[in-house]
Point group: C2
């Protein structure tokens, strides 16, 4: 269990030091680096996010932990999920007096033992899986929507998503949930953690009627505009309640834009190579903004290499807590970068499944493996790098380069088009440095236990808690667990 | 000659109306849409240009007239140049009492009759051609640098450009020329037009010692940083002199980034397809900023389809002049877009040589011809679309699509990767509209007389005016004019 060293906040408060800040994490689904005006989206349709950046700090080099959502695409028949041995941020915050709410997609297991309220959250409104199919096919259960412990309906039945028009009110519902939670917490003077995990930009993308057809970018842009509007309303709500200077807000995305869904249902990775599911920059570099008026200098820009994993350590640091000391923690505390503009030297590792595909050290990125997607998928028209083809880099075979990694300078070549010459002094010098970093990483790596490799149709969302009250229980088939593999 | 209808400015001034604004046009060479932080360059190294945008208006959809500099690449042995029958902006402004200066590259002919001071400019500091070779090869003349009527030296001899290190002081010299000219004009209370045509971002790219090695982006980025710094100093100078509210400044570039020079000497076209020399968006969409404190709302963004040709009509409008009425003028007056946020419906035509390759109407772009570059060049490693390959779009043959143009929606698909289905209602409806626009364009087209198709080694810069005083006259060979062709 947690060995977090708690700073005695009651003592701090008694002594008159500032109350610990609320923490709001706005996590988008499949939104790409290039989807925000502030990051060069050519329609510039995100005025609220752009203003958030101009009032806060824009991160240029912020990475997802993995080029997939969960970090693996987890269909409903996956047996596994988050383990009790893992210590989640809300578990630690709870001990410090925080009320924690998740709104939107959980995606860390849908079976009872994985329920977010068993892992530190106090409230939940949202769904355990992504909002795509089975689209009202009663032969398989539609994804349930929960309020706290119990389901209150299912997608496509009680929470409509019109696949033809793209109309759904979900982002509006999630927005209202956020505003209400913030108001309630402010009224009760309780510090809070809000995790707002929005999936409108994951195919099938959706927007409410008011936003449909309003973007130059089509339906995907409509979804982005509604999210942008909602983020603006959340920030304004914090300001109106007078708690913006005591609320740390961070906006980012879970992986790069899903170019397989472009152009109608996929976003943009700006100048970067490929997209979701790959370890090129387009797959893992994310839009990121930190906002905390009165603490973060307005309009600042950070080149700190950051990772979504850092939000764990950073949030703890904000609250005055230490991360657990009984295990290796991969994230770092970004507060020195955010509050003092410091640059912390740290590598970024790019994983696909269990394979370390690439590593970034400073401005250099070395690919130990390259792979876009298989010839088999590619021949069916599935393309993770549409319109892009860098010879020897966007390979359709899994190609190993461990002996002579492909090296790119991401300052001169953010699009990963021009590998450095193996014979150059620059290559030799940089690879010496990177090899040491990789060696240390491999030496200290503690492999995780795979959670997502057993499937069983019986574990799907047939009869979530609460289904009886709604008459929405479905009969599961007989249990038949087997090994399964999700391409990543 | 000019039939401009002059508003009697002296009368206006006598009646107490505002003095006509100074006009400053900052024109970059080969700088791409994606090279500015405000347009999503991932190193965000242009704080001054980004601030110019935040104080002025950013144009998202602004185009070069042609994907090449001049609009054709004009080596020294080109016989032609700007004709006397053409009426240039400074000629008209001069009649309205303006003093006009060009600093930097002229590139509209280097023979005596084409001299900028014969075409409306009062002062010149710079060169008639681009600053590349012949790199001190005395067998061919190095490009001369002029002050007004006479040359004062030559590149690589008197104005050093170190090809190994990239060091050159030229941008600093051009900056100082601009500051001095502005000071002089302000002191004499004379309205002015300053055309600052900077070529540090054209290969071989250069920067002064202070800026070399300071960019994350390598030498190209060093050049951009020096230009950014210089633009900041020019704007601050206008503010310090108290004339910023009476000076209209426009920043843009002459064509897309030259990807053939990437990654070390070429820029970025952000999310757009291909680069310089092509009629894809990467070849012609340009960074553009209008700045006029007190007149242009700070931080505004315009989606007006604009063209560098509009700066002629717009500048005349600013001064209260009408464009010549004896000829077809392709540019429009952008002031309603700039000052009142209006959107003027107008097409953009994409030419390569004499061929209308594509047209943009609203968010749609129809390609009547596709061509990246020839198989012959491509097989030699010359690639106008490095790392990009859109099947049937980035063709190495000149492919005609006049019967069924390739149609793209630039909002959903700014990267021109997904042609609309010919059978779709959207295609049919849009092409009806576009066909009418193209028909009208072709009906009213007055073809120009080619100026750049005869070459003669004898016309090169052997003995520019002033060479005698410097002992820098070279002996030209015997005249031998012949037809020549520049690939475009």
């Amino acid at each position: 269990m947690a060995r977090a060293v708690l700073v005695p906040l009651w003592l701090c408060w008694a002594l008159g030091c500032a109350a610990p800040p609320n923490v709001v994490l706005l996590l988008m689904d499949d939104m790409g680096w290039g989807d925000l005006g502030a990051f060069g989206e050519p329609s510039k349709e995100t005025p609220n996010l752009d203003q958030m950046a101009s009032e806060g700090m824009l991160f240029l080099d912020f990475y997802a932990a993995n080029p997939l959502c969960s970090p693996s695409y987890t269909p409903q028949d996956i047996v596994g999920g988050i383990q009790d041995s893992e210590i989640l941020l809300p578990e630690l915050l709870k001990k410090a007096g925080y009320t924690n709410k998740i709104i939107g997609k959980w995606h860390l297991g849908h079976r009872p033992q994985f329920h977010p309220l068993k892992h530190g959250f106090d409230e939940w409104f949202g769904s355990p899986n992504c909002h795509f199919g089975p689209y009202d096919n009663r032969a398989l259960p539609n994804i349930p929507v929960y309020r706290d412990w119990e389901m209150i309906g299912r997608y496509y039945e009680d929470f409509k998503i019109d696949l033809r028009t793209g109309e759904a009110n979900l982002t509006q519902i999630y927005l209202q949930e956020a505003l209400d939670f913030i108001s309630k917490q402010q009224a009760s003077q309780q510090p809070f953690f809000l995790y707002w995990a929005i999936d409108a930009t994951h195919a099938p993308v959706y927007a409410s009627k008011h936003f449909l057809g309003t973007s130059q970018r089509g339906r995907y842009g409509d979804a982005v505009r509604e999210i942008d509007d909602s983020v603006g309303k959340i920030l304004k709500h914090l300001q109106k309640l007078g708690i913006s200077e005591n609320t740390f807000v961070f906006f980012t995305s879970d992986n790069g834009a899903a170019l397989i869904s472009a152009p109608k249902q996929g976003g943009s990775n700006g100048p970067f190579l490929c997209g979701k599911q790959t370890t090129f920059e387009g797959g893992m570099r994310e839009p990121a903004i930190a906002w905390w008026p009165g603490h973060i200098p307005a309009g600042s820009v950070s080149r700190q290499l950051g990772s979504v994993m850092d939000l764990f350590t950073t949030s703890l640091s904000l609250v005055g807590l230490q991360p657990p000391s009984d295990r290796q923690i991969d994230g770092i505390d970004l507060l020195p970068a955010i509050l003092q503009g410091k640059l912390i030297d740290r590598p970024i590792f790019y994983y696909r499944g269990n394979e370390m595909m690439a590593v970034r050290v400073g401005l250099y990125k070395a690919h130990y493996w390259t792979w876009s997607n298989s010839w088999e998928d590619y021949s069916k028209g599935i393309d993770f790098c549409p319109g892009q083809n860098v010879s020897g880099v966007t390979t359709h075979l899994q190609e190993e380069h461990s002996t002579l990694p492909l090296l790119f300078h991401l300052g001169r070549d953010p699009g990963e088009k021009y590998p450095l010459s193996f014979a150059s002094d620059e290559y030799q010098g940089v690879m010496r440095r990177i090899s040491a970093v990789v060696q240390q990483h491999k030496d200290t790596m503690v492999p995780g236990v795979p959670q997502l490799n057993v499937c069983d149709k019986a574990v799907m969302n047939w009869s979530p808690p609460g289904c009886e009250k709604l008459g929405k229980c479905l009969k599961p088939p007989k249990s038949d667990p087997k090994k399964c593999f999700w391409s990543h």
